[in-house]
């Protein structure tokens, strides 16, 4: 009896082993495709569409076919897209990940299937999985925005912070960056800290009610540009034009608003550059087996946008 059981256990063990064997064979036999799968979080936010467009344009310029997909900040959906990429035997995956802690497991599945992964914008809390990570230094950018905000406020006054979607690591990173600076100024008083989930309409209604409760607010610092646009619209509607508004991302609508003297500043993310570099490194890796870089993580700094330089940028790219 015990021997029978032993055989049974071995058979059970054999099934996955045989699968692994079959998988290995299949992998070796099939030609690598010419497909780059480009995965971004959202197709409604211009920040992410610009990133996807920049990656797509660079990939096509280098002769690749592309497949674009969005994961909606959902690691499960991200996993499904990666499985699709694996089944289509993609040449590389270019991704702006869903979650710093949950995504590494998804990415690992791709690398174990022999597909190199390149991260752009957001970083994963792991090294040794992605071949390269081209990261927007959100914390540095938030500190830059925080410094400018404090300067515009004259180092004192009442302010409101609009925070992004909680599930997105960068919402917390930016908030920490803002406070890293602002909290060093004891005369800066935060009267409200609310989330508006990266949304323009939510930001409008949040600021509308905050201004009713606190009519003497001097400034609003926002975790991204769409929320800054919503905040500025609520300020305009309330007829309080002198409230300082700071955004984050550098989208074209905010650049226009800055040039019109409404929104006071934003932080430009190097997102087109990250996307292009990710594709270029992927191409190099596919052709030579190496990215040629000493380090996996490459941290690209953000830039401060003021009325003086707002006209130098379009589509997250420096044009002047």
């Amino acid at each position: 009896m015990s021997k029978k059981l032993f055989v049974l256990v071995l058979v059970v063990l054999m099934v996955p082993a045989a699968f692994m064997f079959a998988g290995g064979q299949q992998e070796g036999g099939e030609e690598a495709s010419n497909l780059m799968v480009i995965i971004t979080p959202d197709k409604d936010n211009t920040f992410f569409t610009a990133e996807a467009d920049a990656a797509k344009a660079k990939a096509e310029e280098l002769g690749y076919e592309t497949l674009l997909a969005v994961h909606g900040d959902d690691p499960k959906q991200e996993g499904d897209i990666i499985d699709t990429a694996i089944s289509r035997n993609a040449a590389a995956i270019i991704i702006d990940i869903a979650n710093a802690d949950a995504s590494p497991n998804n990415l690992k599945r791709a690398t174990e299937a022999g597909i190199p992964v390149f991260c752009m914008d957001r970083e994963i809390n792991a090294t040794g999985i992605a071949k390269a990570q081209l990261i927007s230094n959100n914390f540095q950018g938030a500190k830059l925005g925080g410094e400018r905000f404090v300067e515009l406020m004259g180092e004192e006054g009442k302010y409101v912070e609009l925070v992004g979607k909680e599930s997105d690591t960068n919402a917390g990173v930016r908030s920490k960056g803002f406070h890293n600076i602002i909290d060093q100024y004891p005369d800066m008083e935060m009267v409200a800290r609310e989330t508006a989930n990266w949304s323009q309409t939510e930001a409008y209604s949040v600021i509308e009610s905050v201004l009713q409760a606190n009519p003497d607010v001097d400034g609003i610092i926002c975790g991204n540009d769409t929320m800054a646009l919503g905040a500025q619209a609520a300020i305009d509607a309330a007829g309080k034009g002198d409230i300082i508004v700071m955004g984050f991302d550098g989208n074209d609508n905010v650049l226009d608003s800055i040039m019109q003297g409404k929104i006071d500043g934003t932080v430009m993310q190097p997102n087109a550059k990250n996307a292009q570099m990710a594709v270029e490194l992927a191409d190099k890796y596919i052709k030579t087996g190496s990215t040629g870089m000493d380090e996996e993580k490459i941290l690209n700094d953000c830039f401060l946008i003021t009325p003086d330089n707002a006209d130098q940028w379009r589509g997250f790219t420096k044009i002047k």
Partner: protein, 236 residues
């Protein structure tokens, strides 16, 4: 007899299974080797518990590595400023440190002697307005002394600190903050700020030029300040 043949049969099945299993194992191993080819082992910094400790790290490098690197590698502040005034690119080439990875803007390590022409504490980002030799009473360059210290010049001016070694951008930023904090303790706190105006100091410091910045935006972040015209014995 039946019993014996069954045992043989089972032994055969067993051997085949072992063979198959070992084939499976081999393939998995190749996969692992492949994924390690890229460099480090998997290291999750937030979950593994080996979170980066900026205080301990700065303790371990400040006296032993950082200050010696500044003493050894700093260039005369006047020379660097002059080079920057002429042409930024050439100055970066000659005196600057450009990090190997990423697009970090260039940094400079500088040293010099200066008179504190003015101590401007109107902002929390307090500044010494420095008059460099020849002493003509004019301010040549500001040096930030806090209590708020801006930016990451100290962290970014030494080549032995790299982003990949530190983990993620928050930890990398906490390292810069800790270096700035340590600088205030070592270089600024021992000074008597009420009587600093008019005194001559010797210093080592870092300069980082952000995107688009020119010589007009240079602010020195000190790592070491020593008042030199005090009566002997008052300063050590």
């Amino acid at each position: 007899m039946i019993h014996k043949s069954m045992i043989i049969q089972r032994t055969l099945v067993f051997l085949i299974l072992i063979a198959l299993l070992s084939v499976g194992c081999t393939i998995k191993k190749i996969g692992e080797e492949d994924k390690n080819k890229g460099g480090d082992e998997y290291s999750t910094w937030t979950k593994s518990g080996k979170a980066f400790d900026p205080v301990a790290y700065v303790d371990s490098i400040w006296d032993e590595k950082l200050i010696p690197v500044f003493k050894e590698e700093s260039d005369d502040v006047n020379m660097v400023l002059q080079a920057l005034a002429e042409d930024k690119e050439t100055a970066v080439e000659q005196y600057g440190l450009k990090h190997k990875s990423g697009e970090t803007e260039p940094t400079f390590k500088v040293k010099g002697t200066a008179k504190v022409a003015e101590y401007d504490d109107s902002s929390r980002n307090g500044l010494f307005m420095l008059d460099l030799p020849p002493f003509d009473g004019e301010t040549d360059v500001p040096m930030q002394v806090g209590p708020v210290i801006r930016k990451t010049a100290i962290r970014d001016s030494v080549s032995f600190i790299s982003f990949t070694d530190v983990g993620n951008q928050l930890q990398f930023a906490s390292l810069a903050d800790e270096l700035n904090k340590r600088m205030k303790k070592e270089a600024v706190e021992p000074l008597d700020l009420d009587t600093i105006e008019g005194k001559t100091i010797q210093f080592y410091g870092a300069v980082k030029l952000e995107e688009g910045q020119t010589i007009d935006d240079v602010v020195i972040t000190p790592v070491h300040i020593e008042v030199v015209d005090e009566p002997a014995g008052e300063e050590d």
